[in-house]
């Protein structure tokens, strides 16, 4: 398979949320999301309840994928930062460690410069955590250990999902 399976553990999840909460304060942002490049939401902090987070994650990933396609067409590896300016709210989207997407939503109480500066620092920290996670996943794959939390799953379990 092209990439190792993404598995999130309690320890790293907490660290990630700490970094995101700090970034939320330091960048004066309204809400911050972390999204897998495949469109799965990893975590969100701030006023998350105001947004349809699942759709947001999916569209962000689609957006990054589409601009990534554009980048390749003009001979770039990727566009690592996207910025969308609205009337009130703005989106700063950046790729972290080549694997995940950091989305920062902010308004006039902050500024693009501040967000960029703070995101840069947090990105490095987040990157390190995802490297650890990736290593864990690769280790397990090498040892042939499955991370599927219910190895004894039965047909009935699956059928009950659809009943």
């Amino acid at each position: 398979m092209s990439t190792a399976q993404m598995v999130m553990y309690e320890e790293e999840f907490q660290k990630i949320n700490e970094i995101m909460n700090r970034l939320l304060k330091e960048a004066n942002a309204k809400v911050i999301f972390l999204v897998d490049k495949n469109g799965q939401l990893i975590s969100g902090v701030g006023e998350t309840e105001r947004f349809d987070t699942t759709s947001l994650a999916s569209l962000t990933a689609g957006n990054i994928a589409a601009t990534g396609g554009l980048a390749k067409l003009i001979g770039e590896k990727e566009f690592s930062i996207l910025f969308h300016e609205g009337e009130k709210d703005n989106l700063h989207i950046s790729i972290v460690g080549g694997r995940v997407i950091l989305v920062v939503l902010f308004d006039s109480r902050s500024s693009l410069g501040l967000v960029r500066l703070r995101v840069k620092k947090s990105s490095e920290e987040l990157s390190t955590i995802f490297e650890v996670l990736l290593k864990k996943a690769e280790d397990k794959e090498r040892r042939g250990v499955s991370d599927f939390p219910f190895a004894e799953i039965t047909d009935d379990d699956i059928d009950s999902l659809f009943s």
Binding site: F13, F148, I158
Partner: protein
């Protein structure tokens, strides 16, 4: 690639509906959306043209329930079927866990079916996937129409590897959930094996 989150006890999987233009991929998702309880589904997103042709993708998140304490979520995507949207199709296949190939049963769509299937295989290969190793099912859609091929003929064209196959009429919903259930089952069983 599926995403397992031990912290929030969730498993997320990505299913892609593939097939030629106008074969009924979006209609499959629309039916699933209509028939799913409000608390089990998110908003359906369609990035479509003004004439309701899929431009980038349709997206439908489903949270079907829990298995052994883990919330099991499926993210359903369709690709744009029209030939010239190939660059977009490649993007949507990224991180796929399972594929549904929706074939158009009408006789005159035989070439379009075969071309789309070749395209699927090629685009997967480009990203390091092998269709024969992925959870994969085939749906023969539009069985309610008159000018359709027999199942044997369709099988010969689009299901030479004999994966699970389903007859469907996506507009009335016949076969839609059977198809989804089959691919979901293959994905979970595949995860269980620990790829």
């Amino acid at each position: 690639m599926s995403f397992i989150n031990y912290a929030s006890r969730e498993i997320n999987c990505k299913i892609v509906y593939y097939g030629p233009g106008l074969c009924g991929k979006t209609t499959n998702l629309q039916y699933i959306y209509q028939k799913t309880a409000p608390d089990a589904k998110g908003k359906m997103i369609s990035l479509a043209t003004e004439t309701e042709r899929t431009l980038f993708f349709d997206f439908l998140p489903l949270a079907l329930g829990e298995i052994r304490g883990f919330k099991t979520r499926f993210h359903l995507y369709t690709v744009p079927g029209q030939v010239f949207y190939d660059a977009s199709r490649k993007l949507i296949l990224k991180g796929v866990d399972g594929v549904v190939f929706v074939a158009d049963s009408q006789e005159e769509r035989t070439d379009a079916n075969c071309e789309s299937l070749d395209n699927l295989r090629g685009n997967l290969q480009e990203q390091g996937y092998d269709l024969d190793k992925l959870p994969y099912v085939v749906q023969y859609n539009k069985r309610d129409l008159n000018n359709i091929l027999s199942i044997e003929e369709l099988r010969r064209d689009v299901n030479p590897t004999n994966v699970p196959e389903f007859e469907a009429c996506a507009t009335t919903g016949e076969g839609v959930f059977e198809t989804l259930k089959a691919v979901a089952k293959l994905i979970l069983m595949d995860l269980k094996k620990g790829r």
